[in-house]
């Protein structure tokens, strides 16, 4: 967390007091009153895993992992569920929840009357989204391991990888939210997320697509997230993974800078 805020300080983004952690504390308190949401956030990827792994796995059998190695369908789809859950959680927090706090609860009006600045708001909210995400990822990884679909100790690195996916999507999601006018605009968020969730080589390998359209899939951020986590969980680690990591890192940092700037323009007029 301090790494995030140190990074934020080094970047050309708006003022803060280095007190983002107090906002995280606030969110944690608020969340204790809504623990049902916390538990429910964990269920969705696990349900998907079992539905697809157990239900569809029986219809599909083993599939080619991409390098000719045949693996169980559940083992193929589990990393994708983890990556997608990281994306969905981060986006939900940074769009829906943020919009509510911004426009309805007017939380930040009172926060900015204290020493905290816009950078603290951006860093604090994203940190919170990442912490929550980490909790879900860890639980999911444990379930996946227990279900026998984790093939390597490299999988432990899937946890920070999921956080990186969360950072990238939360930062961009936050920026997008500052442009939103009403709840109706969230349909457009859905319009961006759902195709990514369904088409980013999540449920079936990239090779299913015709070669001429594969590049479309490969430019989406979730594709890189899924690829990273899949490589790690299957223990299929090569240098190529660094490319995916770089993509997500750049997306996260650019998003962070833009988000803090936008929040400043929105709240400090």
């Amino acid at each position: 967390m301090s790494a995030v805020s140190a990074l934020a300080r080094a970047l050309p983004i708006p003022a803060g007091a280095g007190m983002a952690r107090t906002l995280v504390e606030r969110n944690a308190r608020a969340f204790r009153h809504g623990w049902v949401t916390l538990v429910s956030g964990f269920f969705e990827p696990v349900l998907y895993l079992f539905s697809l792994g157990v239900g569809l796995g029986a219809l599909i059998g083993d599939i080619d992992a991409g390098d000719g190695r045949m693996i169980d369908y559940a083992a193929f789809v589990a990393p994708a569920m983890m990556a997608a859950a990281a994306m969905n959680g981060a986006v939900f927090d940074s769009t829906f929840n943020l919009f509510f706090k911004l426009k309805y609860a007017r939380l930040y009006d009172s926060v900015l009357a204290t020493p905290l600045g816009p950078r603290d708001v951006a860093v604090g909210e994203i940190t919170w989204a990442l912490l929550r995400g980490l909790l879900y990822s860890t639980a999911f990884l444990a379930v996946a391991a227990a279900a026998g679909v984790v093939g390597s100790w490299w999988a432990l690195l899937a946890l920070p990888a999921a956080s990186l996916i969360g950072l990238a999507f939360a930062a961009v999601g936050m920026t997008v939210t500052t442009y939103m006018r009403s709840w109706q605009d969230f349909d457009y968020v859905q319009l961006a997320l759902l195709p990514m969730f369904l088409f980013s080589a999540t449920f079936y390998p990239l090779s299913t697509y015709d070669e001429s359209i594969r590049w479309v899939v490969q430019i989406t951020p979730l594709y890189h997230g899924v690829a990273t986590i899949r490589d790690l969980m299957l223990g299929d680690v090569g240098w190529g993974i660094l490319g995916h990591v770089l993509y997500l890192t750049v997306m996260g940092l650019v998003g962070l800078v833009l988000a803090a700037r936008r929040i400043e323009r929105l709240l400090l007029r």
């Binding site: 308190r29 204290t114 020493p115």
Partner: protein, 304 residues
């Protein structure tokens, strides 16, 4: 405490605050009086360091908001026009979390919270969520919350707007206590009774400018007469009556539903009106208020 020189705030082409000069001294209660849209809230936001000035110079507690925002805000208490309480938290947590935003240690905030809940008469509701509280309770909690960091300067934007009379008096009582304990109060209001009750000194704002400045008594002495006679006649238009009475008062104002005669002796003027053979529906002689000052300065009433 606050020193503003030619302070200006523009939103696009619209000038909300137009080159005002203000000095607020330690320990006083200073008011911005004016109707909605006069530029009071914009001024307050600039003083609260959440809105950068478009022009002029502003220093708060001897510091520059542009560079020392967090340091200044650390010593301010802010009560915004609309309660911005955290509805996801309980009453007590609102104070705790707010104290943490100021970087106060948990132990200190915990003690402070009990004290402030007592002050705001909310001890019994400490663990309730915020939503079901009454308007007056929410307002008191907002004020209690703004005091968590022992501010030297408390900014109150329309502190009692929307409250019933009893809740207003409770709130005024709390603000008096704060003032006695040495907190500098800066407040905006469009209620002249509130300004008269609370402010040692005030400025009257209209259209982004300051149109008068002084203590409530000075302002009344300077811009109005000692007394006012209010007359209601059985007619839709009061202007014709005004024409018949101009010589009885220093000044006559025509409002949609009544006439105001500015005079040193209300009762004597009332007698003079009757002597002219006019029979108003109602006659009321009263002392001049800031409302009259505002009417005189701008030609409009404060609350419309």
């Amino acid at each position: 405490m606050i020193s503003a020189h030619q302070l200006t705030k523009r939103f696009g082409d619209f000038t909300a605050v137009d080159a005002i000069d203000v000095e607020v001294r330690r320990g006083e209660a200073f008011g911005f009086l004016g109707p909605n849209g006069a530029g009071k809230s914009s001024t307050m936001r600039m003083i609260g360091c959440v809105s950068p000035p478009s022009g002029g110079a502003l220093r708060i507690l001897g510091m520059d908001p542009a560079t020392d925002g967090p340091a200044i805000r650390g010593r301010l208490g802010v009560v915004p026009q609309r309660d911005s309480l955290d509805e996801e938290l309980t009453v007590r947590e609102n104070i705790l979390v707010y104290g943490r935003y100021f970087g106060m240690p948990r132990r200190v905030v915990n003690e402070k919270a009990d004290e402030l809940l007592e002050f705001a008469q909310l001890t019994e509701r400490a663990n309730s969520v915020v939503e079901p509280l009454s308007g007056g309770m929410k307002r008191r909690l907002t004020i209690a919350r703004s005091l968590v960091n022992d501010p030297e300067l408390l900014l109150l934007d329309e502190p009692t707007t929307g409250l019933d009379p009893q809740a207003r008096h409770v709130l005024w009582d709390r603000l008096f206590r704060l003032k006695r304990s040495g907190v500098t109060l800066v407040l905006t209001t469009h209620y002249m009774d509130e300004a008269e009750q609370l402010c040692d000194r005030l400025v009257v704002m209209d259209g982004g400018r300051i149109v008068a400045e002084g203590s409530p008594r000075e302002l009344i002495a300077l811009h109005s007469t000692r007394e006012v006679l209010e007359l209601r006649f059985p007619a839709d238009d009061h202007a014709p009556y005004a024409a018949k009475l101009t010589d009885l008062a220093q000044r006559v104002e025509v409002l949609p539903d009544r006439l105001l005669l500015y005079t040193e002796d209300g009762d004597a003027t009332a007698a003079a009106v009757h002597d002219r053979g006019l029979a108003p529906l109602s006659v009321l002689a009263r002392r001049s208020t800031l409302e009259d000052v505002f009417l005189h300065l701008t030609g409009r009433t404060l609350v419309d």
